[in-house]
């Protein structure tokens, strides 16, 4: 796959504030790229540079091989942008809104008429054609905005936090819509500060924090690479103190935590008391499947009563928390 977005040491300063710090980002053609990071991480800044709205302080950014700095006009033709706000015009109907931007992109009158109809159908607003834009609901405005970004048939759609502020239903509709767009052959770059919003719909993700790219690549690959070992959750009805001692000395257990310990500030050096109810331990386990079954057998043989023994399903959220170590 060829790269549709490529940045090389992309850097942007606001005064002394370094918003983007030597960002090297690659988005392959046809991907749905989730750009994830906490507020203030630099997502909007990156997107504004890619849409030619902001000049980089240093480094390079290319869309389909075209530099955003030396040939912004060509880049504008290639990119459809949906900012994290919706600009409303008074006294304007949905179709006029699209018509205006169609004209702004120099689309001939006949093609424009046809496109407006098609796009309004695509975003499920066919029945709102003659309604004033102001009167549409937030979700509808969002979809109209998406149709607007599609007016000039761009190869790359850049959507800045499209899901924020949408109710769950509108969010699902948006997700379906993005799938349709992908089927149309568009590459989509979509940002969010909430990982779960994006998790299921992306093929690729990039995690950004404080202007630095912490991880990027295919979702599955990231899942693997970020988690070389598994976390085993063990719920113990009795014999917890003994189990803990056994686990701590086990060569494959890299780290052992008591669940909730971080919240309760429990003293880890005090032995667990079975009387205070069943305890749950979390073990970072480096061994393979066999080693894991042997560990369970050893615990049971030692008389530890276990009600739950399972590998935690590693999801993006953990990785996100793991990678962005709460600096922001």
């Amino acid at each position: 796959m060829t790269a549709i977005v490529e940045t090389r040491d992309l850097t942007r300063r606001y005064g002394s504030n370094l918003a983007l710090d030597h960002l090297n980002l690659t988005i392959p053609e046809g991907a749905i790229f989730g750009f994830i990071g906490p507020n203030g991480a630099g997502k909007t800044t990156t997107m504004r540079i890619l849409t030619t709205l902001l000049a980089p302080s240093a480094g390079e950014a290319r869309v389909a091989g075209v530099s955003v700095v030396s040939d912004p006009r060509t880049v504008r033709r290639l990119v459809g942008f949906m900012p994290d706000f919706f600009g409303v015009y008074d006294n304007m109907k949905s179709w006029e809104y699209l018509d205006f931007f169609g004209r702004a992109y120099g689309i001939p009158a006949q093609r424009r008429q046809q496109l407006i109809g098609e796009l309004l159908e695509l975003v499920d607003l066919g029945h709102k054609r003659d309604d004033l834009v102001m009167s549409l609901s937030r979700g509808m405005k969002q979809r109209l905005s998406l149709a607007r970004a599609m007016m000039h048939d761009p190869q790359l759609l850049i959507l800045d936090e499209p899901a924020s502020g949408l109710d769950p239903r509108a969010r699902i509709e948006l997700r379906e819509l993005l799938k349709e767009l992908r089927a149309l052959g568009k590459t989509i770059m979509i940002s969010s500060h909430i990982l779960t919003e994006l998790a299921e719909m992306c093929t690729h993700i990039g995690i950004i924090e404080r202007g630095k790219l912490l991880a990027a690549g295919e979702v599955q690959q990231i899942l693997r690479s970020m988690r070389p070992h598994r976390i085993v959750e063990i719920r113990i009805v009795s014999g917890a103190a003994h189990a803990e001692a056994m686990l701590r000395t086990h060569p494959d257990v890299l780290e052992l935590r008591r669940e909730g310990a971080r919240d309760t500030k429990e003293n880890e050096s005090e032995p667990l008391d079975d009387a205070t109810g069943p305890h749950t331990l979390l073990a970072d386990f480096a061994g393979d499947e066999h080693a894991l079954s042997e560990l369970l057998a050893a615990l049971v043989t030692a008389g530890v009563r276990i009600s739950h023994f399972a590998e935690q399903s590693g999801d993006l959220e953990d990785i996100f928390l793991h990678v962005t170590t709460g600096i922001v």
């Binding site: 706000f85 015009y89 008074d90 006294n91």
Partner: protein, 313 residues
Amino acid sequence: MPELNPILIRDLRSRMRGARAYILLTIYLTILAGVSLLLYVAIAGSVGSDLNAGREIGRALFFTIATVALIEVCLITPVLTSGSIAGEKERQTYDLLIASLLTPWQIVWGKLASALAFALLLILAVVPVMSLAFLFGGVGLTEVLIAIVGLVATAILYAAIGLFWSALMQSSLGATSFAIGTVIVILLGIPFLIVIVTLILEPSALSRLLESLWFIYISRLFISLHPFIALGTTASQLSSGESPFFEVVRTGTANVVVLSPWLLYAILSLIATVILVASSVRHIHPVQPESARRRRARSQDRQDVLGERVSKR
């Protein structure tokens, strides 16, 4: 067939859909008609019914209407444009325009043209009332034509003033305040300076100055910056039988020919408009090409900061 400017079409569409345009037009015409009627009543009683009465009524009516229309144009046109580009920034549609294939020039021209279309409508609405004065006699076609040229030149220049502030500022309120401020500085500042100059100069110095060539040129240029003084001077020159295009100033040594103030005013307005529009275009900021960007890196940075703050609201 090339298509019309997209901004022009959109602005006209929404301006004509809203009630504001009609309310503004109604107020404007009501003031004009009201003043004319009051004047007619006042004059008709005092001039009696001799042969010249009609001519006097006609002249008074014409000059009153022209003055009121000029005041209205001076105040309305800058407001028509001052909200235009700053308004896009406020509604957060500015970025969408910049990110589109519209050029800065297209954006500026579309905004100016849509305001001028409405301003021309206001001026056209005066023409029938002026022709009424024409029917009474006492006013020539020259005077009517010059008045219309003066109104149109004023509309264009003052719209460009509003546009300039609109491109510069981040809020319509700020842009409108600065635009009205500029108009007030022009309309009141110039007469004020004239009064000051005549007050501080001693009579002997003044009469010596009046003989010097550069003073003649500079003073004509200066009064031609002011629509009311320029057009008023022209009117009095016309009634004393001078040519509508130039004026002959007699000094002790020679006769100096200068352009009529209204013509000078129209030319100066045009030049100022070109400058204002050009600097408005320069303030519509897309990404600058690398070389130009480095040169402007510092000021650009500051502008981006301002721009982003607004779009974050």
